[in-house]
């Protein structure tokens, strides 16, 4: 609890592209309303919308063409491969359309605990256990024989509990769906204990629309005939085109609004009333209003015999109420996806198509393009002269080191900006001691000896940190080959909830005296990072090929949210 890991989240520019009208309260999110030219835009990491645009740098991708970061929310995705997470078998696009998004081989999850199920032979009960010791019999030498069941090795559930056994150990999905359609038709639910026959035989499902699938099919065909009967000439009866834009629907709406005069003038346009499905043949499924069987089921099975909400939710078909209604769950397929930039459509990330290959063909991660930010206290906790707890003491200034590390082969000029106080109810004062600096290039032609010397020098410097070195405004604290550390000073606010002095209040301002909200005691600094560097033109693809010699100036700016620490409650 006491420990807090400082964090740096980057705001994706997609926050601006969202229409402002979607924001629940416009006042607190000025970014959504202000014009793009407005330089005074402010950023509140605490506003509800910020949750959706702040990401750690590891989560972000970078578009080389747009020169900006992209988050997982704004990239467009394309499915490369569909596969089963259990058997890692690749599933074709077409079969997903016909068979659905579940594995159709023998991969199932336990309906009780979602553990993986395995196919096991249900050996016929052997003779009484051997009384003599160590005479382990070798009955298995003949090879396991059917019937087969699905077993969970974690919670010990097995499919014979719902009366499901298989003839073959292969093709369980097909066998199960056959059994299931037979079960739904003929198995008298909730009273199964009485009739003894809990081993459903394979019966064909074509006769009655029992299963959800069959019911849907009959409903669909029923309504399609209704559509075509109603509007035989419009040419849209047979197709699925009956949206609001279709001419038939439009004329019907017009006649509704224009009132009786028009419709009496044109009596033909009066719509015939569509009939609803009213027989089971047409797909009607009458609700079971007679609960006596359910109640007797409850009485005999007890609480343990009922299905939990969570178990019902992961079932493929709805309507399960008892543990005996829970069927093995075929694994939902997973996907591998290509990610594209939302504006220029360039590929940002592309996995290998093969399921077993976990590598990427292409992956432009933001960490390779923009500096990373790490935060740590200038004087570590527990060090002499340093703080004794991880919590920040109100009104006592603390200094933090922000270290920027440059991943690219060019020198980057960094300009930082923060508001003087953090937004929110508890405004902490923030001072950046060195808002402007340069980070050296991450070139690969450095002298190894120098780097090593640099590293040797480091511990000495660290030691002098606590004793001597003074924090100077406008000066970097420390720097190396491709990194720079700067100091930020924070004066944490007190998190006592008390009314503001009247003198400081704006006109009409009302005190917010609600209790401390979740994470409101964290000092979170919005910081605006502006980067400027010169890219050699040949790095820029395509257009600027002619002037190869010239260097092109690049810039990139974004907001970050730096989580510094928690304020102690007293």
């Amino acid at each position: 609890m006491a420990s807090f890991t400082p964090y740096a989240y980057i705001q994706c520019p997609c926050v601006d592209s969202v229409p402002g009208s979607r924001s629940p309260d416009g006042a607190s999110t000025p970014t959504s309303h202000s014009s793009p030219e407005d330089d005074e835009r402010d950023f509140d990491p605490r506003s509800p919308r910020s949750n959706y645009s702040l990401y750690p740098i590891e989560y972000m991708l970078y578009c080389e063409d747009c020169h900006t970061v992209r988050c997982e929310r704004c990239v467009t995705e394309e499915v490369v491969t569909l596969y089963c997470p259990s058997c890692l078998f690749e599933v074709g696009n077409s079969s997903v359309k016909t068979e659905g998004n579940r594995c159709t081989r023998s991969c199932f999850q336990c309906p009780i605990c979602i553990g993986p199920l395995s196919v096991q032979s249900l050996e016929s009960t052997p003779a009484a256990p051997e009384p003599s010791l160590l005479s382990a019999d070798h009955a298995t030498a003949t090879g396991p024989a059917g019937p087969w069941i699905l077993c969970c090795s974690y919670c010990n559930w097995n499919s014979s509990e719902i009366g499901v056994k298989f003839d073959k150990p292969q093709g369980i999905f097909a066998q199960l769906s056959k059994l299931r359609s037979g079960y739904d038709n003929h198995h008298s639910r909730y009273t199964s204990s009485g009739d003894g026959d809990t081993y459903p035989t394979k019966r064909d499902a074509d006769g009655e629309p029992g299963s959800t699938k069959a019911r849907f099919a009959s409903l669909k065909s029923f309504y399609q005939t209704q559509m075509s009967n109603e509007n035989p000439n419009s040419g849209l009866g047979s197709t699925m085109d009956y949206g609001y834009g279709s001419p038939g629907a439009l004329s019907r709406i017009m006649s509704l609004y224009s009132g009786n005069t028009l419709s009496s003038a044109k009596p033909k346009s009066k719509p015939t009333i569509m009939r609803e499905a009213d027989t089971t043949k047409e797909g009607l499924f009458p609700a079971k209003l007679d609960d006596t069987s359910v109640m007797s089921g409850l009485r005999s099975a007890g609480y343990d015999g009922t299905a939990t909400r969570a178990q019902v939710n992961v079932q493929v078909e709805e309507g399960a109420r008892f543990a005996t209604d829970l069927w093995p769950i075929p694994y939902v397929l997973r996907t591998k996806r290509t990610k594209r930039c939302p504006s220029c459509r360039h590929i940002l990330s592309k996995p290998e198509a093969k399921v077993s290959n976990t590598r990427w063909r292409m992956r432009l991660i933001a960490g390779n393009y923009i500096p990373s930010i790490t935060i740590k206290p200038l004087i570590p906790v527990g060090a002499p002269g340093g703080p004794t707890t991880h919590l920040l003491t109100p009104v006592k200034p603390v200094q933090y080191l922000l270290t920027f590390k440059n991943p690219i082969f060019e020198t980057i000029k960094v300009t930082l900006a923060t508001p003087a106080v953090t937004p929110g109810r508890f405004a902490s004062k923030v001072t950046l001691l060195c808002p402007q600096f340069q980070i050296g290039a991450n070139s690969d032609d450095y002298n190894l000896d120098e780097v090593l010397k640099d590293r040797d020098k480091d511990p000495q410097r660290k030691r002098s940190d606590t004793t001597g070195q003074q924090v100077e405004a406008g000066k970097e604290w420390d720097s190396g080959r491709n990194w720079v550390s700067v100091v930020v000073e924070v004066v944490p606010s007190s998190i006592q909830i008390e009314p503001k002095p009247t003198i400081l209040k704006k006109l009409g301002e009302v005190d917010d005296l609600g209790p401390l909200r979740e994470d409101e005691d964290i000092v979170e600094i919005p910081i605006f990072v502006h980067l400027e560097w010169e890219a050699s033109a040949d790095q820029v693809t395509g257009k600027d090929r002619e002037d190869k010699e010239t260097k092109e100036k690049k810039e990139l700016a974004y907001w970050c949210a730096l989580g510094i620490g928690r304020i102690s409650p007293e």
């Binding site: 009780i112 605990c113 050996e123 009960t125 052997p126 256990p129 051997e130 010791l133 160590l134 382990a136 019999d137 077993c151 974690y154 919670c155 010990n156 559930w157 097995n158 014979s160 509990e161 343990d304």
Partner: protein
């Protein structure tokens, strides 16, 4: 710790306490580095297997291990409980019980029924009574004094259900086969524990 331990443990030495009076059945397999301490009797019935570094403690009451039981490494059978009241006996496990790695069974009239499977790092509280053929999955906790009915499966942070597989006979057979193999793998030294 026994002197035959080649590798020096980095943990501080556990005070092993007095050597417990023991009573072994026939064909008991007990590793040299198992720890049997306490003042009360430790009974281990025939064909049971005690793995290396298993700890059976009879300080707080008699320990009885049934026939064809397997007690795995770093288990602690007969561990002290939070309250000091002692029972008539410490721990009683019936036949065909498996106590997996790192489990703790507290002492004080604690009974483990026949064919129970105690998963890894389970804690069985003092005075708990497990029925026959229960399965306690990894890291579950059975509260002191709790009575667990026959064929109960305790899983997923304490959820319970009834095992309806009816595989007790098969399981017992498999356990007999496993013990047969373990006898060959574990160098047994029952004489060390008898005086």
């Amino acid at each position: 710790m026994s002197s035959s331990n080649k590798r020096q443990s980095v943990l501080p030495k556990v005070p092993s306490g007095p050597k417990a009076p023991v009573n072994f059945g026939s064909h008991v397999t007990i590793a040299d580095s198992a720890i049997l301490t306490g003042s009360h009797t430790i009974n281990i019935s025939s064909e049971s297997v005690i793995h290396p570094r298993a700890r059976l403690e009879s300080t707080y009451g008699r320990i009885t291990i049934g026939r064809r039981c397997i007690v795995h490494e770093r288990t602690h059978v007969g561990a002290p409980s939070s309250d000091d009241k002692r029972g008539d006996f410490g721990v009683l496990t019936e036949d065909y019980v498996v106590v997996e790695v790192g489990s703790i069974i507290e002492s004080g009239n604690t009974t483990i029924g026949e064919g129970c499977h105690i998963g890894p790092r389970v804690t069985i509280g003092k005075g708990a009574k497990l029925g026959k053929h229960c399965t306690i999955t990894a890291k579950s906790i059975i509260q002191p004094g709790e009575v667990v009915p026959d064929y109960t499966v305790v899983y997923s942070n304490g959820l319970r259900r009834t095992d309806k597989r009816g595989l007790e006979i098969l399981k017992a057979k498999a356990q007999a086969r496993q013990i047969e193999i373990l006898r060959r793998l574990i160098s047994s030294n029952p004489a060390k524990f008898k005086d």
